[in-house]
Each structure stands twice: as structure tokens, then as C-alpha cells.
Amino acid sequence: MLSQYMINQLVNGLCQGFIYALIALGFAVIVGIVGLATFTHGEIIMIGAYASYYIFSACGNNLFLGLFASFCASWLVGILVYKLCYEQFLNVPEHISLICTIGFSMLLKNLAQIFFGTEKKPMLDIIDNRIYSLGPVEISKVQIVIMVTVLALSALMMMIFNWTKWGVALRSVSQNREAAALVGINVKQTIMVGNCIGCAMAGVAGMLIGIYYQAIYPTMGATLSMKAFAAATLGGLTSVPLSALGGGILGLIENLGISISSASFRDVFSFGFLIIILIFKPTGFVKRKGVRP
């Protein structure tokens, strides 16, 4: 028999997991589907959060306007990242663009500290907080919004990549660029749009994280993106829905661990779990070894 306390911890864990999943979604799109290496993901999250913050303070708490702003802002930064870090380095070893993204992430973080200020900015009451009780389960409105968004985005991504012509083109580009070009696919443009979709996912995640934690700051992406990376690794780095699943499980494991020990050991549980899974199943949750779809 589960006590009320454990049920609450499970809900908390699930919601935290969905936050990781939200970031892991975009990460899996860029790394897994498009086949690029990125370290700017945390900073894109931050850009998305700030974009929605300024929209909320200028135009009032309109969730859809905020969503639109963070989507557009991170899409634009995605184009910039592509132009600076990827376009010239598509035919050279991956680590060159990898280093470029590390540099670009430092640049973005420092620029944000200069232009937005280093202090935390409040993001209060964007969604009217209400707590729903379903029997012993207590869940807040923000938590529901986050869960629904993750599920919807995950399904949408799956549909785009599997069922649209463009999705098939993108997958063929990630498998073999030369062959894709030979059959008439515009490789560069496809990669750029793919990267932008991943970035836009991150931007939307940034807004939701800001709303959930009610504060944003320039370094907010750094710790969360580490966890999202772990979640995406659990998903085998190639599958969007499995990455989301990985995020959910990580959150659950962490919070269950905290409820029986101390919050100081949060990272021990999540990364410990990752290590154990990778030892026994190096491909994560996917069946086959690291082949892109």
C-alpha cells in the first residue's frame, strides 16, 4: 500500500522527469536525428526563457504569445549556431564543430550576463496555480501543462520525422550526406532546419522551466542540460520518444532516491542509474546499436 507521501514523491519525480524529457527531446533531435554534436543546448534553453520573460513583462501573461516568442527566438539562435558552428565544418571531423559549440555556449552565457544581468529574474503567476486532487494524488496545473506539452511535442516530432517527406529527407541526410545530395536533397538547408527544430524545442522547454521554477537566470541551462544529456543517452541518443522516456525515468529515480535518503545525493542516483544501465545495455533503451534511424 503506497502512502500519500510516496504518491506525492512519485508525482514530483514524474514532473521533474518530464522537465528533463523536455530538454532531452530537442537534444535527441539535434544529436540523434540530424547527427550534429552540440554543447549550446543549455544556453538555447536560457535564450528561450528570457524571450518569453520579456514578452510576458511587455504584453502581459499570455502563454501562447510567450510560447511563440521563445520558439522564434531560439529558432533564430539555431540559425546562428548553424551558420557559425556547423555550415563550414560539415565535411570535416565532428569534433571541430563540437569545440565551436562549446565556445559559442560560453559566448552566449557571458553575453546574457552582460545584457540581461547576472541576477535571477522573477517569472511569477504566469499560469494561475491551482492544485487538483484526484484521490490521494495531488497535482498542480503547471505540472499538468508541462506533462501535456512533453507528450504532445514528442508525438509531433515522431510524426514529422517518420511520416513527412521532409522527415524522411532529414533521416537520409543523417545517414549519408553524399547519397542524399545525389538524389536531389538540399543537404545544408535540411540540416539547418533540423537543427532549428531542436533549438526551438529547447526554447519552449526554457519557457516552461521558467514558469515552473518561477525564476530565470543566465546559467539556468547548464545543470539541467547535463541531466537531459543523460536522459538522451538512456534513449540511445537516436530516438525522440525513448529520450523522453529516459528523462521521465531519471526524474522518478532521483526523487525516489531523495525520499529515502538526502537531496544532497540527487546526482548520485541519476548518474549511478545511467552507469548501471550502460554497463548492462550499452545502447540504452533502443534495440540496435548506435545506428541513426
Binding site: 506525492n8 521533474q16 559559442f104 560560453m106 537531496a263
Partner: protein, 401 residues
């Protein structure tokens, strides 16, 4: 060919961007290398026996420049006020400033330089505990008082007879929060504590528990978390399950986040916090969630606090920013040295005499009484502030036991 050029331009752009962003991070700090404020002495006339010189070691540049420049301004305000009122025992006060950039090695060099200058009767500074601890052996050797406005490491003051600090440390402060604030003022019977897992948080938690057990308050939960934590929901669920009447948060930067998450979880315990101080940022970040919060602070410096208004206005006019408690402590340093010298009376003003007089000096200023414990560590009084209608209200003045 064209590709090559674009590639190079892109690389150049990235590299220069990174360099600029790094440079910009530092540039805010070293904007003003400060001049010596010896003009302080010249401003007042009257029948003067001469001047007494204090050395000020402060981080005027570097990461702590904000505080160092605050020290410089605050000590000048204090010296000007004393000199305008006729000085101390007929002497005018003069302050010589040197920049340590918060670097212990530089700080120690300046301490030696000040100690070898016989005109300097006492040294005020430095900002960080580590700088002060680097200076301690030097002032001990030269037998010159080192009075730090802000060193709060409990190990610093006992290093030498000549080392003093006016900043409180948690050994004096946290037991009082447990016993008087949580026990007597809030009147709760059970409390849950959450604290930051750092040196500061761990020791503050221990001292707090000491005070709580003296007052006979039940501690139902005592949870630590990491500094970079963003999601407190699982700890909050744990505390909630303990059914404690109140939650005590020991932290600085995370306090608003924690308060917001407690309120979002639909739980309404009494809230008390120790560490962040009564800042405007806290009210901005919490909004209406801050209502009813109990917070303790050693000073409360705003424009509309009549006790500190004069200091606030003078500081603002000279430094174009609002003073913090750190600057107020630097102001207190000059006042305490002045009252120590006053108590020497007609005797010789020597470094030794200042040290002996300082030990028993009690200064009653705009932010409560300041004195020293047997080691030279600071003992200050505290205000109990509450939040009502989005503003801080002083609920209990200094001296609440």
C-alpha cells in the same frame, strides 16, 4: 576559395566575440582605481592637536570591487562626520586607502607597508576572510590592530590579540535564531530545517539546532541540498509529511525559489529564513508568496528607515548606489576606533593602547550595538523583520532576547 575566406571570417568573429565577452566580464570591475581619501582630514577646521591616520585595505578592483569601493565611501563618511564634529580627543582622523583586489598576497604586502608606517595607528580591512587571515600574522608581528568590517570566518579573530572583526559569525547568530526567533517570537513547537550543503550551511545548521534544543523545540526534519539545486519539490514533500508547524531555510540565493515552491505545493507552514538578508530582490522574486515571511538581519538600510536615512543619502550621493550592510560595517569600524581612542583620553595614542581600548569598546550606532567577544569576533544585534503587503516591516527592534 570563397569557402576558405568565409571559414576564416567566421573563426575570427567567434574568437573575437569570446575575447570580448571575457573582457567585458572583467571591465565592470576595474572601472575606477580609487584615489586616497586623505582630503577627509582637510575638510574640518578647529583647534586640532594633529591627525590620527588609519590604513584601509579594501578590494577597490577585482570581483569584490563593489564592496571595496563601498568601504572607501563609508569610511570617508564616518571620518568626515567625526572631523566635522571636532575630531576625536582633538585629533582629526585621516584614512589612507590601498587596493588589495581581494588577493591575499597583495593584501599581506599592504598590511606590511601600513605596519611599517609609524603614522598609521590601526588598520581597517580587508573584505574577505582569507585576506584577513593572510594579514593576521603580520599585524601580530608588528602589533598593530587589524579591524575587519566583514571577516566572518570564526577562525580569523582568534588568530591574534590584534585581530578584530565587527561582522557577526554564525556561532553568535544562529543559536539566537533558534531560541529567540523561532522559539519565543514565532512561538512554534515543531520545526523542519532545510540547509545548504556548504561549510556555511552545515555550521549554521549545527548552531541553529543547538539553539532549538535549548528552547525545547522539536526538529522534525533536517534536510541538506546542493547549491545548484533547482527542484526542491521532493524535499518539500518530505518536510510536508513531517507535519512541522514552521520551516526554517538556511541559504542565500535559493531562498526565493524555495519559498515559491513551498507555496506552489499548496502547503502553508510558517516560514523563517536566515542568511539572505532583507533585500528588495527577495520581494521581487517571491511576489505575494513572501507574505508573512520572518527574516532576521543585522541592519536594514533603506531610504525610508529614519535611522539610516542620513547614511543612505550621503552614500548614494558619493557612490551612486545604495549601501549594503558591508559598507555599514566599515562605517562602524571607524566609529569604533574613534570611540576606543576617545576612551584612552589624555594617554598616549599608541597601537597597543588602541588594541586594549578596543577590547572593551561598545558602539551603539544606527544599526544596533556592536561589541567584541573574548577573541575579538563581532557580536551584533539583530532585527526581526516581517513581510506585509509586499514590504518589510520591523517587527522587533534591536535587543530582542
Amino acid at each position: 576559395m570563397k569557402n576558405r575566406v568565409i571559414q576564416k571570417v567566421a573563426a575570427l568573429f567567434l574568437a573575437s566575440g569570446m575575447v570580448m565577452s571575457l573582457a567585458a566580464c572583467n571591465s565592470s570591475a576595474d572601472s575606477s582605481a580609487a584615489p586616497s581619501s586623505s582630503e577627509a582630514a582637510a575638510s574640518a577646521g578647529g583647534t586640532s592637536k594633529g591627525t590620527i591616520k588609519f590604513g584601509l585595505i579594501a578590494p577597490l578592483t577585482g570581483v569584490h570591487a563593489e564592496y571595496g569601493q563601498g568601504f572607501q565611501t563609508a569610511t570617508k563618511i564616518a571620518a568626515d562626520e567625526i572631523n566635522a564634529a571636532g575630531g576625536v580627543n582633538g585629533y582629526q582622523i585621516e584614512i589612507e586607502v590601498q587596493d588589495s583586489a581581494a588577493d591575499p598576497k597583495t593584501s599581506a604586502d599592504i598590511a606590511t607597508q601600513f605596519c611599517e608606517d609609524d603614522d598609521i595607528k590601526a588598520i581597517i580591512g580587508d573584505f574577505t576572510s582569507s585576506c584577513c587571515m593572510a594579514d593576521a600574522p603580520i599585524v601580530d608581528q608588528y602589533q598593530c590592530v587589524l579591524l575587519s568590517p566583514t571577516a566572518s570566518n570564526p577562525d580569523y579573530a582568534p588568530m591574534s590579540d590584534y585581530c578584530f572583526s565587527v561582522m557577526y559569525n554564525q556561532a553568535n547568530m544562529a543559536p539566537w535564531v533558534g531560541k529567540s526567533v523561532i522559539g519565543k517570537y514565532m512561538g512554534v513547537k515543531s520545526v523542519a530545517v532545510m540547509y545548504l550543503n556548504t561549510d556555511w550551511g552545515i555550521s549554521t545548521n549545527q548552531y541553529l539546532l543547538q539553539g532549538l534544543s535549548e528552547a525545547g523545540i522539536q526538529v522534525l526534519a533536517d534536510e541538506a541540498y546542493e547549491e545548484k539545486e533547482t527542484d526542491f519539490s521532493s524535499i518539500i514533500a518530505k518536510l510536508k509529511a513531517s507535519n512541522a508547524e514552521a520551516v526554517c531555510i538556511l541559504d542565500q540565493g535559493n531562498v526565493p525559489t524555495i519559498i515559491n515552491q513551498i507555496k506552489t505545493s499548496g502547503w502553508g507552514p510558517k516560514l523563517v529564513t536566515q542568511g539572505p538578508g532583507a533585500s528588495q530582490q527577495m520581494l521581487d522574486l517571491c511576489g505575494k508568496n513572501a507574505e508573512g515571511l520572518v527574516i532576521t538581519d543585522s541592519s536594514y538600510i533603506t531610504e525610508d528607515n529614519p535611522k539610516t536615512k542620513d547614511f543612505y543619502d550621503k552614500f548614494y550621493a558619493m557612490n551612486q548606489c545604495a549601501p549594503t550592510d558591508h559598507s555599514l560595517c566599515a562605517y562602524n569600524c571607524v566609529e569604533m576606533l574613534a570611540s576606543a581612542i576617545e576612551s584612552i583620553g589624555d594617554g598616549d595614542i599608541t597601537r597597543e593602547a588602541i588594541k586594549d581600548a578596543l577590547k572593551t569598546t561598545t558602539y551603539d550606532g544606527m544599526a544596533g550595538t556592536v561589541k567584541f567577544d573574548e577573541n575579538g569576533g563581532g557580536v551584533r544585534q539583530f532585527l526581526i523583520l516581517g513581510v506585509k503587503d509586499g514590504k518589510y516591516v520591523v517587527d522587533e527592534d534591536y535587543g530582542y532576547e
